[in-house]
């Protein structure tokens, strides 16, 4: 697999099918890399890889718990990168983590290490536009796509800037809240998707609260696809094996494909 996240996703979008990006917390189980492979095999267009952090401010209980498990199991950035280096999933891998892990040495070093291991993108939810400048440069230098988040509360002016400065895709939050399955998709989600689509040609993906195949299909109708995290991680915490998680991703894939028809 070559090319940037954005090139890859844009190409996939071109096939007319909504994009699907499932999430896994790196290190949450010893065989987590198998989960990545299972996602890819089940039709994921990219995989979001959570680098666990002790204080995940924007995560709900499910992903908090997954991160807690991974940290307790000794997961480190270095360890994840070593495993990623040997993992060829066939789709782009996008790191998602919090600023504190990114700034440890320097953002340039962090981005370079990610790229060297084969990661193609980066999401840092507590690094909004005004703090992302240096990071965006470092990511660009390393050849990583820095994905920015857009929220229902963002003004049109901010959305314009986010759409312009985001790389890979634009991560549209379905609602005001943390990750997690509970809570309604805000009415603003459709509006947010529409506005972003007006503002940019980049892929726009919805994330947060995509709790079922039906919900995924519905949301994909307002944008280019979805990111699914807590619904998968809850199943994993409840004991699901990579194969079962893959099957769930496949069911999401089917729902998206049918919804798009």
């Amino acid at each position: 697999m070559t090319g940037s996240v954005e090139e890859f996703l844009t190409a996939r979008r071109g096939t007319g099918r909504p994009l699907l990006v499932p999430y896994v917390t790196a290190g949450v189980t010893p065989d987590w890399t198998n989960i990545v492979r299972a996602y890819a095999d089940a039709g994921a267009d990219a995989v979001e890889l959570g680098f666990p952090f002790s204080d995940p401010m924007l995560d709900g209980v499910t992903i908090q718990e997954a991160a807690g498990r991974a940290i307790a199991a000794g997961t480190t950035v270095r360890g994840i990168l070593d495993e990623v280096a040997t993992l060829d999933a066939g789709v782009p891998l996008i790191a998602m983590t919090y600023s504190n892990l990114v700034v440890q040495r320097s953002v340039a070093e962090f981005c370079a290490a990610l790229a060297a291991s084969g990661l193609r993108g980066l999401i840092v939810p507590d690094s909004p536009l005004e703090e992302a400048g240096e990071l965006a440069d470092a990511a660009a230098d390393a050849g990583l796509d820095l994905v920015l988040l857009a929220a229902p509360s963002s003004s049109r002016a901010r959305l314009r800037e986010i759409a312009e400065r985001s790389r890979g895709f634009v991560y549209a939050l379905t609602r005001m809240g943390t990750t997690g399955e509970r809570g309604e998709i805000s009415e603003g989600a459709a509006r947010l998707g529409r506005e972003l689509k007006e503002l940019t040609d980049r892929p726009v993906l919805f994330g947060f609260g995509v709790s079922s195949p039906a919900r995924a299909a519905e949301l994909a109708g307002h944008a280019d696809g979805v990111v699914v995290a807590s619904a998968l991680m809850r199943r994993l915490l409840d004991g699901a094996r990579p194969r079962e998680l893959g099957a769930y991703v496949a069911s999401l894939r089917r729902a998206l494909d049918q919804g798009a028809r």
Binding site: D55, M57, Q104, D126, E131, T178
Partner: protein, 405 residues
């Protein structure tokens, strides 16, 4: 008592003084620290609060209201009390800025009255707050009751056990206390949880941050609301001391709000500024630069960047970070940061109680412990004058130090 002269001329007007600790600008930066590391969802709220604060802070009517509430409701100005007997024992002149005497029993009320007035002015219905020792939670519940707002306070389960009295006080005041069961179940996790809740309720809720931390404008705004401590103390020193300015200005540091407010009054003077942290939560001494709870600062963390749990006998100092401005003051050498251990702290609490009849909070007793140690070792030269902010009273801690008596 009585060897030290003291005219009792207190409560004099605060002179407009050198404001060395200034406005961090639109980006909220103190040197390389500070900023606004929050999810995009919260950015509009942060902008809104910053704008509202800038407007309010420049509005004489708001300032007048705040001033009136601080005086007529919260009991300001607080006295500057000479620690007569302890001073004699230590061979120095030790002056205590008595934040233990304000309503609810700690400096936290200064900040909360300010923020609650701001939230009220912004039309918010609910105050959210994190709390460690419970003092900030009690202050928030108090201000909410006063202004007819609702209050929801996030508190780590471990702190709920340690500070039961304050939990009950919040209940009596009508606030909802939400136990936080994640992580170390202390202040750090309560902050995370408050942030998470804020994201989902930002329309009608105002996040009332309890120290000089969080995203811009909080560290600056909280310091400005706490500045009253330093400015009063500065004026009281000017009125009472032969030289007008103390040699040392000392305060304990959890997030750092009482210290920041105190230092703000003395930053433009020759006084040496000393912040005292708990050994088990000493971000200024043992921390590395990092990002936590929306700001960049010094953070206690392991080699991999995972934030450590702080450990202190004082729930209010159980915080692995430090306000960004303190990190900046440390780097620039304008303030220094020291640590004391739990044992010294409990001893200091008892010593102050038995020499002066003042039972200080465990948090505040950190500052006392350092002064006792430094005066004993000669690090504070004999005859020096030390102005110490006694950030709160110890009633909340009595039950937990019971076994140590």
């Amino acid at each position: 008592m009585g060897e030290m002269s003291w005219s009792g001329r207190q409560g004099v007007a605060v002179p407009p003084g050198a404001r060395a600790m200034g406005d961090p600008g639109a980006t909220g930066r103190f040197g390389g620290y500070g900023g606004r590391y929050v999810p995009e969802s919260l950015i509009p709220a942060c902008h809104e609060i910053e704008a509202a604060f800038r407007a309010a802070w420049g509005d004489p009517e708001f300032r007048g209201r705040l001033d009136t509430l601080l005086r007529v409701y919260a009991g300001r100005p607080t006295p500057l009390t000479p620690a007569w007997r302890l001073s004699r024992e230590l061979g120095i002149t030790l002056l205590l800025k008595r934040e233990d005497l304000v309503h609810t029993g700690s400096h936290k009320i200064n900040n909360v009255v300010g923020q609650a007035l701001l939230a009220h002015r912004m039309g918010k219905e609910r105050l959210l707050a994190e709390t460690g020792a419970g003092q900030h939670g009690v202050a928030t519940a108090t201000a909410a009751a006063l202004l007819g707002l609702k209050a929801t306070v996030f508190m780590g389960e471990r702190d709920i056990e340690r500070q039961e009295l304050n939990v009950l006080r919040m209940n009596v005041l009508g606030a909802e206390v939400v136990p936080v069961t994640t992580g170390s179940r202390t202040l750090k996790d309560a902050c995370n949880e408050a942030m998470r809740h804020w994201v989902s309720s930002v329309d009608d809720s105002y996040y009332c941050v309890g120290s000089v931390m969080g995203p811009h404008p909080y560290p600056w705004m909280v310091r400005e609301f706490q500045r009253v401590i330093g400015e009063e103390a500065r004026a009281q020193c000017a009125a009472e001391l032969p030289v007008g300015v103390p040699d040392y200005v000392v305060a304990c540091v959890g997030g750092g709000s009482n210290a920041a407010g105190t230092f703000a009054g003395f930053a433009g003077t020759t006084a040496r500024l000393v912040g005292v942290e708990a050994e088990g939560g000493a971000a200024a001494t043992f921390g590395r630069a990092g990002v936590l709870h929306g700001f960049r600062s010094l953070v206690l963390q392991d080699e991999h960047g995972q934030v450590r749990e702080a450990h202190s006998v004082a729930a209010g100092l159980d915080y692995p970070g430090i306000g960004p401005e303190h990190a900046h003051l440390r780097d620039g050498g304008r303030a220094r940061y020291e640590t004391v251990n739990d044992d010294e702290v409990v001893k200091a609490l008892l010593r102050l109680a038995r020499t002066e009849g003042i039972v200080a909070a465990l948090e505040s007793s950190h500052a006392v412990a350092w002064v006792i140690r430094a005066a004993g070792s000669g690090e504070i030269a004999p005859g020096s004058t030390v102005m110490l902010t006694l950030s709160g009273r110890g009633d909340k801690d009595i039950a937990s130090i019971k076994e140590l008596l």
